[in-house]
């Protein structure tokens, strides 16, 4: 093993899977070996069984669907507004000077702390969930997109002008396409954060969703169900992450070259 030397793709997959194996093994030893009380930590087999019950008999699929819908809805809303604003801020410095200080402040406002306020304003319905995710992702997205767009190589900008580009086409044909792969990467990262916000929102006040199932299970001391819920969240996160990575490679083949 030497620093920064790459591994082969097959070794990479094998190593990645082996840690999952190690993780489940340690968990099994702790639970089947009787080192941890079943009340506090369910064993893997029990977790899978109750997961099946949840899905087959208790309509957990609908909860999963609700949670996914909330994350995607809130995140898309945030992304749709953050993209144009971020690009404009990155491209035009007066616009950046106008918004940047406030957004820098707003992004440190913890989204979860807005939940009580949002419940007062919007109740415990869907609007409140979407608002939490929106607050949690919008400001982060705007700032990061603005930085990426603002970091466009100046020599490319100059080359575009000497080729006759106008200001508008510079934004459209140089700033945006040049920043696109990094923007996609930002979206992937912030989507991960949005998952945290949705669960928090569902833990506090909801009548459906994965977070709601987890709070219900807590009252019943059903740690197997809680763990299953958490693992489902992890799996969905992993899947969306892989989807994003796949899409990035497909849409921006040039960005992966020479790396």
């Amino acid at each position: 093993m030497r620093p920064l030397t790459p591994v082969t793709p097959s070794a990479r997959v094998a190593l990645g899977i082996s840690f999952f194996v190690v993780f489940v093994t340690v968990w099994s030893i702790a639970t089947f070996g009787g080192f941890v009380s079943k009340t506090f930590l369910a064993d893997p087999v029990m977790m899978v069984k109750s997961g099946y019950t949840l899905l087959a008999e208790m309509g957990f699929a609908k909860d999963i669907g609700m949670t996914v819908w909330r994350v995607v809805g809130g995140f898309l809303l945030a992304a749709l507004l953050a993209l144009p604003l971020g690009v404009m801020m990155g491209a035009y410095k007066p616009i950046e000077a106008f918004f940047e200080p406030f957004i820098s402040f707003a992004r440190y406002l913890p989204a979860s702390a807005f939940i009580p306020l949002l419940i007062l304003w919007a109740g415990i319905g869907e609007a409140q969930k979407l608002a939490v995710i929106f607050i949690g992702s919008f400001f982060q997205l705007v700032l990061m997109i603005a930085v990426v767009v603002g970091n466009t190589r100046r020599d490319l900008v100059e080359a575009a002008y000497t080729l006759g580009a106008t200001d508008a086409s510079l934004v459209k044909r140089v700033l945006i396409p040049g920043a696109a792969p990094e923007i996609a990467e930002i979206l992937r990262m912030v989507l991960g954060w949005a998952w945290t916000y949705v669960i928090v929102a569902e833990l506090i006040g909801a009548s459906s969703g994965i977070g709601h199932m987890i709070t219900d299970s807590q009252a019943l001391l059903a740690t197997d169900q809680i763990i299953f819920g958490i693992i489902v969240i992890g799996l969905i996160g992993l899947a969306s992450d892989m989807l994003f990575k796949f899409a990035n490679r497909k849409f921006f083949p040039w960005a992966a070259l020479g790396k």
């Binding site: 100059e158 000497t162 040049g178």
Partner: protein
């Protein structure tokens, strides 16, 4: 007939808390149609600054630059530029890079492709149309950049040490390629370099610039007929001019080193 007139152009960089630096003294330069002018000088002498002012990418502190009698106020497609750094758009293929300026002019797609393919052929990149810049060598990237600038059919071609980052052998081939294109297309070229061989081989006139603050201290015509092949580099005329310019540049490099302490 002069195509470009540089009249009393100077450039002073001022930064807060420090004495302003004069990068370029008031400079006059007239460029005739079909001239190939090479600007030679030690690094930091203001030769790139002069070129960038002509390109409209930098603003002069005094004087004016006229292209076909009209004052230059900013960059435009009438002055194609090839930079020292690799400035192909990494998200576009070779073909799309060459089409960039044509698309900006809203030419019909078929016409864009005709023009782009013709220039890709001229710089010898046939078969590489769908490659991305990162898949090309440095020399191929600069050839694409040349094709991209030429495709716009500019009045002038401005080149800022375009072969500076290439290895010696590639650079010599690029010089022949550019000279061949210039001989065929009869473009007007302003070419900045610190390589004396390069300046003499390609230039119809060589301007030698002084150490900072820069000014043109020598305007040397190169009386060698075209087309020139690489073999002219061993002729007595070439050797004489090279010896003369080497002496001139050397004085300036020494002066520049003294000034920097």
């Amino acid at each position: 007939m002069n195509i470009l007139s540089v009249r009393g152009v100077s450039r002073t960089f001022s930064s807060e808390g420090r004495a302003p630096t004069v990068a370029l003294q008031a400079t006059d330069l007239d460029v005739a149609e079909n001239d190939f002018i090479t600007i030679l000088g030690p690094s930091g002498c203001g030769k790139s600054t002069l070129l960038r002012i002509v390109a409209g990418l930098d603003q002069q502190s005094s004087g004016e630059v006229l292209l076909d009698g009209k004052r230059i106020t900013g960059p435009g497609p009438d002055r194609g530029m090839v930079f020292q750094s690799y400035t192909l758009f990494p998200w576009l293929t070779v073909l799309e890079n060459v089409c960039f300026g044509l698309r900006e002019r809203n030419l019909p797609r078929a016409e864009q492709l005709d023009i782009a393919n013709a220039f890709i052929q001229k710089v010898g990149l046939r078969g590489f149309e769908s490659h991305f810049p990162k898949q090309l060598s440095g020399g191929m990237q600069q050839r694409t950049a040349l094709a991209r600038a030429l495709a716009n059919n500019p009045r002038m071609l401005l080149m800022d040490e375009p072969f500076g980052a290439l290895d010696h052998q590639t650079r010599e081939l690029m010089q022949e390629l550019l000279l061949g294109i210039w001989e065929a297309e009869r473009k007007t070229v302003l070419f900045v370099t610190h390589d004396i061989d390069e300046a003499v081989f390609m230039g119809s006139r060589v301007m030698v610039m002084s150490a900072r603050p820069g000014r043109i201290k020598l305007d040397r015509a190169v009386p060698m007929p075209h087309p020139r092949s690489y073999s002219v580099k061993t002729t007595p005329t070439f050797m004489d001019i090279k010896a003369e310019l080497t002496e001139q540049v050397r004085m300036e490099v020494i002066a520049a080193q003294r000034a920097n302490g």
